[in-house]
Amino acid sequence: MYKSKYFFLLPGLMVLLAIIIFPLLFTIRVSFSSWDVFQPGLDNIGGKNYGRVFHDARFWQSLVRLSVLSASSVIAQYVLGFALALAVWREMRFRRVLRVLFLVPMMTTPVVMSVVWRTIFHESLGPANDLLGMIGLSVPWLSNNIAAFVSVMIVEVWQWTPFMFLLLLAGLVSLPKEPYLAAAIDGAGPVRTFWQVTFPLMAPISIGAIIIRLIEASKIMDTVYVMTSGGPGTATETSSYYIYIRGLRDFQIGYSAALSLTYLVIMIVSLTIIAKVLVRLLVAKDA
């Protein structure tokens, strides 16, 4: 009886520990070495790599870029996902069809769809400029700094709004009925009902959904790699992609380990702060 509980937990825990712990410890150790393509091996150079990270302007720029990219696309996903979920929440025609349709993008492989999006954003042969051409516009999608940034954002919104939609719709479906009756008796219109009933009730789910998406968005690299390769210049280079270039392209193993640990710590700290702030902002209001 007492022993059998380990039968359940230990296999999974041991396997995960074995697969994760070695790489993590190894990364920490390597970050204090000068391992690169010329001198592979574990020597000890103290905190030199971290000093270099501190002065690496390209890394900090990539971090700022990543923050702007993930914050803006996650906000857009949240607003759109919430609007769509509200639209198909109640009975309406074609509801099931629309729900499946709205879910499909998040099931598709990001890299594969990025390849398709790249042809869409092709400047002379793609449909994006063809359609804009009808109103006399032409955008240099992937060769202009800002336009390239926006195209990555568009793809992110296309791919991940469904995820927000899924979580928020699941939340809406499980809301209690009583508060809506009370609001109707008070004679509240749809706008007031939303702000005073739906939105506060949905706050916990909203926070969860936003945090999960921010975690995933902070890792973004596939889409960037395929669509722009970080370019033009470094205009769309995110932190993961920069570390990838340093580590697996330039083979500066020691330095990229220091970069990735710095990145990991910053991610954990800032996501924790964001979660705390969101909880205070959204939950305290209706208390």
């Binding site: 009886m1 059998s4 509980k5 039968f7 359940f8 937990l9 999974g12 825990l13 396997v15 995960l16 697969i19 994760i20 070695f22 790489p23 993590l24 190894f26 390597v30 769509l84 639209a87 198909v88 099931r96 499946v100 349709l101 709205f102 879910l103 499909v104 993008p105 099931m107 598709t108 492989t109 990001p110 890299v111 594969v112 769809m113 390849v115 398709v116 999006w117 042809t119 869409i120 042969l125 449909p127 063809d130 296309w158 899924l166 479906v173 499980s174 975690i215 995933e216 902070s218 690299m221 596939d222 395929v226 993961s240 990838y244 580590g247 380990a257 990735s260 990145y263 990991l264 991610m267």
Partner: protein
């Protein structure tokens, strides 16, 4: 006002649907084009705007001459995804059940901390683990093999399985386990005879998510394999960087996402049936 509101709402839904469908339709239309149809600018409707050709689709299955092969990567992707999902689901379900029914203690570490350890693996950016994984698989001689990828994907997918299943087991009343044990089952027997058969909906959802994330991963497949064990996402990216014609790329893209479209229907049907806890009664 209500009528105006309804019109705006349906217009917005229509616009969003068009945005969602657009890349798929574009890929479908492009996959039917030939060189002429592509270089003459963006066209959309076959027969009307251009003469369709099947070369894009045929090129994927007559691999030798063109260097495009979809059958191999498809088989690899399917094998890696299914094996890793199956192992993650098995280990993850057992661990989730253990965590939801028994108390564990090791110094200051309690159940919540162990649960957090499992789930927090999702926060880890792949890049942090990529280089050690590379060296680790090199040592084990598993670089560029299915077994090596499966090993790495287990770490990627098990947190998802644990996350879904802990939630699910929390919705199954403990009285069910206790009744089975009164009838003479051991805890392990109770799990396999009573709990597991009642957990099919949770297992399906957890399995779906494992398959989605496994099938869609690019980064590890990209850094840990070269030519022997190519998965679909890696194969399409290497085609993308060479001078592969758009028609082949588009057909390739459509084939490689097709299994997941089917999964969207399954997920939706579970969502529409309401909460999972309701499904087991």
């Amino acid at each position: 006002m209500p009528l105006f509101y309804r019109i705006v709402k349906h217009l917005c839904l229509l616009l969003w649907s068009a945005f969602v469908v657009m890349p798929f339709l574009w890929a479908l239309s492009t996959s039917l084009k030939d060189a002429n149809a592509i270089t003459s600018g963006a066209t959309y409707i076959p027969w009307l705007q251009f003469q369709p050709s099947s070369q894009g689709w045929r090129s994927l299955f007559t691999s030798a001459s063109t260097g495009i092969d979809i059958v191999g990567p498809f088989a690899n992707s399917a094998m890696v995804t299914l094996l890793a999902s199956l192992i993650s689901l098995t280990l993850g379900t057992l661990a989730a059940y253990g965590l939801s029914r028994f108390e564990f203690r090791l110094g200051f570490i309690k159940n919540q901390d162990i649960t957090f350890f499992f789930i927090s693996q999702r926060i880890m950016p792949p890049i942090v683990l990529a280089i050690p994984f590379f060296l680790m698989l090199q040592q084990l001689g598993l670089l560029d093999t299915v077994a090596g990828l499966v090993l790495v994907y287990i770490a990627l997918l098990m947190p998802i399985a644990v996350w879904v299943m802990i939630d699910f087991f929390a919705g199954i009343p403990k009285a069910l386990d206790e009744m089975a044990m009164i009838d003479g089952c051991t805890p392990i027997g109770a799990f396999f005879r009573v709990i597991l058969p009642n957990s099919i909906p949770g297992l399906v959802v957890a399995g779906m998510f494992c398959i989605i994330f496994g099938w869609n991963d690019f980064f590890f497949a990209f850094t840990l394999t070269f030519t022997q064990t190519q998965l679909l996402p890696v194969a399409i990216v290497s085609l993308n960087s060479s001078v592969t014609p758009w028609w082949s790329l588009s057909a390739f893209a459509l084939i490689s996402i097709s299994p997941l479209i089917l999964i969207a229907f399954v997920v939706e049907s579970y969502m529409s049936r309401g909460s999972l806890a309701g499904a087991i009664r």
